[in-house]
Amino acid sequence: MTYSPHTDAERARMLEAIGVGSVDDLFDDVPPAVRATGFGLPPPLTEQEVRAELGRLAGRNRVPEISFLGAGVYRHLVPAVVGEVIGRSEFATAYTPYQPEVSQGTLQSIYEFQSLICELTGMEVASASHYDGATATAEAALMACRLTRRHRIVVSTGLNPEYRRVLRTYCSGPGVEIVEVPADLAEGGSGTTHADAARQALGDSIACLVAQQPNFYGQLEPMSELAEAAHGAGAQLVAVVEPVSLALLEPPGSYGADIVTAEGQPLGIPASFGGPYVGLMAARMDSVRQMPGRLVGATRDVRNQRGYVLTLQAREQHIRREKAASNICTNQALCALAATAYLIAVGPEGLREVAVAGTTQVRHIAAALEAAGLAERRFTGPYFAEVALRMPRATARREALLARGMVAGYPLERDEAALADTLLLAATELTTDDQVERLVDALQATP
């Protein structure tokens, strides 16, 4: 199946107009020595066959009936209206809004996205979005280096290990050194980053402190104290947050974050085996010129109508080339549109309901497993919508539960040897009482 409209007669007409005998003549400029010798792809398929093949592959995935897996990606209800909005081909099949007169739909929706992210984070300016939360965080760290003209950063190990890996890769290019400040993983510890430890790692050559709220273990970090520690050393605080949590938690703008990043996936974007997602980034207005990525601004047209344009473009690669703030070119516009439609669909009350449901059910899980004597909380102190639970033979029992179509969270020993036999369990509004009961039953049946 091809999507070319041309008949052979039309092709012949075009070749004649061009003045060549065959289409092969149009490829004479490929030097004979390096012409393709093979192209061993399978034969074409009809739509019916394509559907069968893609159906086969999708069918080989087994979506668990019950899952308490989060660890940075959360299964939430995606309201039908969100799919409807981003499915409109006027949005989906448009390119970057370089011609603003015929791109006001995309431009205004990005302006609304930026406004929503500012409101949610309490920050002054938000970018039009990044590839994902991890790359947004890496870009934020490099941005802090430009702002402070320093070349070392401090990263809390409470930061999602995927993000830490991406940070390492991004920093290896320009040679930015990473110093890790460990979260308190000791027995009876809080699982969080102590401000004293952060202060020790900071010094007068550190560009920023990167910390996550709630952190990877679901624990609540003392962000105000971490901000103070960073600022005391002339460094910036890069706060990595979870957007749904901001319905209940203090916005980063209030505790002194300088740059805020987040994975926007929980806002109406399916898990989709890791992407596409949308990276959020927000900052203070006085650092906007070092901010990477697209920005949309409001202005007026010649008819005195309100309109929107890509703005402050001189920061970007297509103008500044080797001096650009970043090489980033695309944003994740369609995913940003999904997040925009989601935040509007749920509104302030709905976002609060989602956050309350997750925080309540995760406590329900912890309480039920503790009451049954099956598990104990690995850390002391408050957590948000994810909890680290220790239980004997955790990894083996998680395997056993898999056979019952249940994913009992994320095994933390994968990243930290100190967290053996500890599972990270997440809840969202999709988590039901029945699922919690079945988890308890299944663990009881799997000693």
Binding site: R11, M14, V34, L57, E101, Q108, V166, A247, V302, L402
Partner: protein, 557 residues
Amino acid sequence: MSVADTRPAAAAPGGSDTSGRGSAFRSGTPEGDGVTVVEPLIFEHSRPGRRAVRFPSPSAAARQAAASQPRVPDPLRRRAAPRLPEVSELDLVRHFNRLSHLNFAIDLGFYPLGSCTMKYNPKVNEWAAHLPGFADSHPLDPAPLSQGSLELQWLLAELLKEVSGFAAVSLQPAAGAHGELTGMLMARAYHASRGEGEQRTTVLVPDSAHGTNPATASMVGYATVTIRSNERGGIDLQALREALGPETAALMITNPSTLGIFEDQIDQVIAAVHEAGALAYMDGANLNAILGRFRAGEAGFDLMHFNLHKTFSTPHGGGGPGAGPVGASDRMAPFLPTPLPLLEAGDPEEVRRNAWRGRSTPGGRFALEQPDARPTSIGKVRAFTGNFGTHVRAYAYIRSNGADGLRSVSNDAVLAANYLRVRLSDAYELPYDRICKHEVIFSGRRQKRANGVTTLDIAKALLDEGIHPPTIYFPLIVDEALMIEPTETESLETLERFVEVMHDIARRASQDPAALRASPRHTPVGRLDEAGAARRPDLRYRFPDGADSAPAGPTEP
């Protein structure tokens, strides 16, 4: 030059919707200052207490159990709820449908935006990406639950290897520029592994290159050296040889170039780069021109990124998401990002053969590489394994087309571009008058010199004709550039109409230049004050005074 020349433009009489679907808009809502509003911001639709989606409350039992657990301490709580808009679901739907009417899109009309490959985005690909088995697949689900996702990624990488002639492909990069970053980090790692990390500090980039190339080089700490093009639009081989040296890390070259020209000395270019101990990186942005004709890996390139959203038809989404997989030669493969999808059990040949016939292979098992399994890897450039939804669409596209289809994609794309080249060369200056590939570059110099009509004016006049303008003012080495990429999916009638409109604009440029400079007249908004937007940035909605946030509601737990 600036777009913000606020020359007087007569407002289009009677509404401004050119979608042909009838205007859903009033002629504009007046605001203070004489400004009118085409569609209010969603914040301006908001009414306190209005709601769309609701969620069930946790049960009393759940709440009671939760009460035994630590609460979120008061100092960490938000004191005022975020002022998100409060609208009904119908308000939301109308708002975004109205906004969608203000957009141009491939599904509405001809979009010959050079270097962007705005081809048709097949609908069956969307259907595939939305299959629940894919959409609900968690990236950290244990491998036994994700066999379909892993097999698809493994198969797509196999297909891309065959398309490009490379030894290995990583699907992780999320965009073309992200693929470039990956490639340059790999170049660094390669040179470091040979003890030449300190020595090799520069990257060579032709003057016709996309801005991401030099920006990428800087991001990994390389200095950029610009290589001039020759009078035929190719890289100047002599200049390249002079620039190459023991300090050169890599050449980044777009082929076909942004001038739409295949580098007809590419074999010599690659040889010269390798002779200097440097790496040859191909920017694969323009792969749509050469499918089945030229395979970068086979030709000797060390690295290349693909743009799945260009060549392989995944929708551009108004500026993303896309995907920028990277292909690597044998010697570069060890440095690819981790994790790669692996065939853990089973014979690759058998698995491919079965999959091409729509069958699973009994005993075939897929897994992700362990995070630290390959110490030479540059690590991760993105969380998880990339934009999987984009991978699904690209896989569906390649399978639909097959070998013959993909060959004809490039044949027809090149045919269309050359057809426009010969049909428009009487009206517009053609700086490089030779066979082109997927796109053709004209210059608006003649119109500017004779009539004071700029390429920007020509672009804006096209908007009034329901045609998206070509890429303009790029590449930088062509004055008043018009970069036209028709793609293979546009019919001859569409191409003919474009020719007719471009001829008409050339005629009007000499007869009534003032009218052209006043275009567009029939778009929802006219030319916008971009200078004003940049001088006094307004990047977010400002709540009217007194619109305080409601206190955050009860926040158990």
